[in-house]
């Protein structure tokens, strides 16, 4: 049964400055969000990839008021492509330039010195899951599925199974994605995807039969279906059909 929903979604298409060099600078951009209420320590913000910046407020809204056991709270997250790193690594890559080409050998010394030490961690696909778990204290069953539409469906299946079997008493299920950056926009352009890119995150809090004995699976499924369906909502924020 869905007991809470949190979402961070763009409200309009805007001209986004980093995309200015591309055929379309329009993107569905979230303004902000303000992360301070959702972080244990303000300095944690420097570790967050954009999708995690969107996910934290969405997950926080869905969890607001939750007072159950965090050991028995599951976390099931769908993400899209790996976060890009070219902006962060630009200085490092620029240091490899020689005669207008990239000289890989220069990366071992000049490039390395400028390479951001935290970058590998910012670009792992599971960083949305990791940051939501750390900031919310979630310690139960979890999975991060990457890829296409099946990732969004897969996290529902996994959460549903964890609740129905009693491995979790509640589950935070969601998706987060951002394609509003130069690297993603360039790849989309190369792939022939001309619609404006977007970004967003949505999380729902589900509780299982252990919490609401009257909520059997059939009723739960009907309610999920009545929401829109929520799978489509997940698709809208990044896990798009191929």
């Amino acid at each position: 049964m869905i007991v809470a929903v949190g979402a961070v979604l763009p409200t309009a298409l805007r001209v986004h400055a980093p995309l200015a060099a591309l055929p379309s600078a329009l993107a569905g951009v979230v303004v902000g969000p303000d992360l301070v209420p959702w972080l244990k320590r303000r300095k944690d913000a420097r570790l967050l990839p954009r999708a995690a910046e969107l996910a934290l407020p969405a997950a926080g809204q869905a969890l607001f008021g939750f007072d159950g056991d965090l050991e028995e709270l599951g976390l099931f997250v769908a993400v899209g492509r790996e976060p890009p790193d070219e902006g962060d690594a630009e200085a490092s890559i620029a240091a490899m330039a020689k005669d207008g080409r990239l000289d890989r050998a220069r990366f071992g010394d000049q490039g390395r010195a400028l390479y951001p030490p935290l970058l590998p961690l910012r670009t792992l696909p599971n960083m949305v899951l990791a940051h939501v778990a750390i900031q919310s204290g979630i310690r139960g069953e979890n999975v991060c599925l990457a890829g296409g539409f099946e990732a969004g469906v897969g996290v529902w299946d996994a959460a549903n199974d964890a609740l129905a079997s009693g491995r979790c008493v509640a589950a935070l299920v969601g998706a987060a994605f951002s394609a509003v950056d130069r690297a993603s926009a360039r790849d989309r352009h190369r792939l022939g995807q001309t619609e404006p890119p977007g970004e967003g995150a949505i999380f729902v809090l589900l509780v299982g039969p252990a919490v609401r004995p009257e909520a059997d699976l059939r009723v739960w499924r009907q309610r999920v279906g009545a929401l829109g369906p929520v799978e489509a909502l997940l698709g809208a924020v990044g896990v798009t059909p191929r």
Binding site: L121, A158, R190
Partner: protein, 385 residues
């Protein structure tokens, strides 16, 4: 009670060789698969060695080759039929883009871009195996393929499919990875002696070694497997996973999350802690992981024999959970506990019963761990058929 889920096929490519049996024999002998980097000119790099698989290629093409080799071996052993009752769940990360793309020097084709995505190996396996059932890709760094096996187990138990191809693939001998992880201080820097660089649980360990490889398993409902006369290699009895909710790179010193993942897997298997005869540890050769994992094993399982097979093959990251699951199945099959290469002086802070050299033992149930950057923990329990 749900029907048992059994392993009917296994395939592997590791730094120790192509094929399950070749790798297993090398592990038991204590062979070394770590050497100077061949994939690129690493002159001037802070780390100049890696655990590279004996396969030619680069980037996405290399991953595709590793995937196909491991898959074909697993399918040949299992003989699992194609169709809508066969699904795929793999652990995988994205591939790094080739250098020229970073500077827009060569425009990649759409197919080349798609080949970098984390789910590219999953799509590849589904196509090659004719698997038309559900498919998914787990991306939780070093825990990816352990969780992929767990998610596959759940799909079979739920009755969504009769069989799943599950496993993982990774290829990390790449300039960006070498520089990135060395700047994090996670890699061993024994450039003068790479064969001694990966030394899990040793007092003088100084980091992990980036590796390459793939492991694929076919798991099935036992009744279906036996009805078609498939080889039943082991039972996948239990799975547990947790979040540390601690820090991105570090594990809690008391190993709390790892301990709970193991406890959950043992409970899921329907056995007692004392029934576990061997633990194939995650054992990365980093100070933090080995100490934290040791604390977890000691607290939950006491003096259970434990080893890490990363001493000879490095850290295969998204593939390590599947590769080490296969080695655990082989330990059950042959009733042998693989040793920990380079364990010359066990760290007294790692208070576990470490297996230094491969030896015979009585095994009914084995447990294998995988823990990832970001704090996801996975544990799997296998039993004799």
């Amino acid at each position: 009670m749900t029907e048992r889920v059994v392993v009917t096929g296994m395939g592997m490519v590791s730094p120790l060789g192509i094929g399950v049996e070749r790798t297993w024999e090398a592990v038991l002998r204590g062979d070394n698969g770590i050497g100077p980097i061949r994939r690129f000119d690493a002159t001037g790099f802070p780390v100049t060695f890696a655990a590279e698989a004996p396969v030619e290629g680069q980037g996405a093409a290399l991953k595709a080759m590793l995937t196909e080799l491991a898959l074909r071996e697993a399918l040949a052993q299992s003989g699992v039929p194609a169709g809508p009752r066969l699904g795929v769940c793999l652990g995988s990360e994205a591939c790094r883009p080739p250098w020229p793309w970073l500077w827009n020097q060569d425009a990649p084709t759409p197919a080349e871009i798609e080949a970098l995505a984390p789910d590219a190996p999953t799509r590849q396996v589904a196509e090659l195996a004719g698997a038309r059932g559900p498919r998914s890709t787990v991306s939780t760094a070093c825990t990816s393929s352990s969780q992929a096996l767990g998610e596959a187990l759940r799909r079979v138990q739920r009755g969504e499919v009769d069989a799943m191809i599950c496993g993982g693939v990774d290829a990390l001998s790449d300039p960006l990875m070498v520089v990135g992880f060395s700047k994090l201080g996670a890699l061993s820097t024994r450039n003068d002696a790479p064969q001694h660089a990966s030394r899990p649980f040793d007092l003088h360990r100084d980091g992990f070694v980036l590796g390459e490889g793939a492991g694929m398993l076919v798991i099935e409902r036992e009744s279906v497997a036996r009805a078609r006369g498939a080889p039943v290699l082991a039972v996948l009895e239990g799975y547990g996973c947790t979040c540390n909710a601690w820090r991105i790179t570090d594990s809690p010193p008391d190993g709390r999350g790892a301990r709970e993942a193991m406890r959950t897997a043992i409970y899921d298997a329907g056995i007692q802690s004392a029934d576990v005869g061997y633990v194939n540890a995650h054992g990365t050769s980093t100070q933090q992981n080995d100490a934290s994992e040791s604390a977890a094993i000691e607290a939950l399982l006491g003096p259970v024999p434990t080893s890490s097979t990363k001493g000879g093959m490095g850290h295969l990251v998204a593939a390590c959970g599947a590769v080490e699951a296969i080695l655990s199945v082989l330990a059950l099959r042959d009733q042998v506990l693989p040793g920990s290469r380079n364990l010359d002086e066990p760290d007294p802070a790692c208070r576990v019963n470490l297996v230094r050299h491969s030896r015979e033992g009585r095994l009914d149930h084995v447990l294998t761990n995988a823990f990832g950057f970001g704090g996801s923990n996975g544990a799997l329990v296998f039993g004799r058929p």
